[in-house]
Subunit: 253 residues, 2 copies
Amino acid sequence: MAQKAAVSAANSNKATKTKKSQTLYQKVDNIIRQRLIDNVWKPGDALPSEMQLADELDVSQGTVRKALNDMVTENLLFRRQGLGTFVSEHTERRALFLYFSIVGNDGSRLLPESNILSCEEKIPTPEEAEKLQLNQGDMIVQFRRIRFFNNAPTIVETISLPLEHFPGFGTDVEPPNNLFRFYQSAYGITVAKAEEHLKAVRASAEETDLLGIADGAPLLEIDRIAKMLDSRPVEWRVSHCDTSNYRYVAERG
Amino acid sequence: MAQKAAVSAANSNKATKTKKSQTLYQKVDNIIRQRLIDNVWKPGDALPSEMQLADELDVSQGTVRKALNDMVTENLLFRRQGLGTFVSEHTERRALFLYFSIVGNDGSRLLPESNILSCEEKIPTPEEAEKLQLNQGDMIVQFRRIRFFNNAPTIVETISLPLEHFPGFGTDVEPPNNLFRFYQSAYGITVAKAEEHLKAVRASAEETDLLGIADGAPLLEIDRIAKMLDSRPVEWRVSHCDTSNYRYVAERG
DNA sequence: CAGTGGTCTAGACCACGCG
DNA sequence: GCGTGGTCTAGACCACTGG
């Protein structure tokens, strides 16, 4: 029989107060979250059933359910009635709807194709080190690529990664189009959330050339930090988009 | 005694199937939502307690709780332990954090001041009628304003409203800086969500002049439709922002 | 103090997916 | 048929608020 990993050693009615008051379902949440971070359960895997988890952690099914539901709303897990609870994967659809906000003027969604322009390992600039929260001496791998919608060049991207987490990236293998899925399958790194900063900028001479647009045309700059399950930054990406035929969408409220 | 408004007339164990399968808490949700739309409970009001609602609607407290919690995550309601459940208001903070995405380069949040440039009632163009889902013959009120951060002109906005919902707007009274709060207090209209479309555009000659920027400088265009509780559009706003010292922020995932 | 929402439990039945 | 998650109930106790 599996040994019980009770959430709390002493759960008597008026237990001695622990320093940090944390509810039961929060403890359950943290335990499950840690197992995702440790890759105990990998993307695509089914979790044990609610009853099994409740049994193992010595809480009621309702408490497990609340913890799981919270993680479902965070898109870390998803559930299918009659089947089970599963760890989210970075599928094409997920990349398209959760982490890619550029759509056609008619609202159509499509992942653009990519061509790598350059790739190098380098010592980070102070800005890069700060954005990726690097330690002294950490290296990064940085590459630029151009992206096409229906063969029309539309986006120029500069992507920086902490080399520590991505050994051999860009030298042993060609980076694929869907990067987040690749981070997950090749390095076990799951992108859990991202913060985007947007500005309007003038196209550089190089961008003018690459995108085939007028001199000094306006481009939409998307400056994004992507973070892992434990909130550490994993990727810094700056995208410059020609929004003549495309737009960035966001929901508020 | 208040008359019971039971959610379902016949709730026997194996009730005759209704055409649309809807769960109990969804019915409760819809009833409460409709009361918000009908202004039975106004912004700032406290709802009856969970037990009272459960009693009135003839369901358990847990079912009411689930319905209320769903609406809390939608920001329609908020709860304060020991006090009660309340209808959300468009306070300054709400406007700032939920519906205003422009922050300083250092991350500071501040609502800009506004000056009205022009205001008129007019027949909508086909595009305006489509964006606001107007019927034949409906009029709109349209005004332009310029917005300042610390006295620096930064945003030029064009705002269109269906006159039907805003009688006397712009003629009887000067539109204030915080519009959403004004829609709510003066017209009983609550903005519940919004969809934003972003592009990079060149400043027009007029904008160049108003914002004191270089000729043809890039501006961030925010094209937004704001919707009421029942999802009907109430406002179309196009903002052109000088993002030299400010940026638009969004969270993903 | 009484009343509110917040947490937790236990058990029942339903709806779904698969063999 | 069986196991899964989804819904619903009933009741207990806790934590917070205000008078």
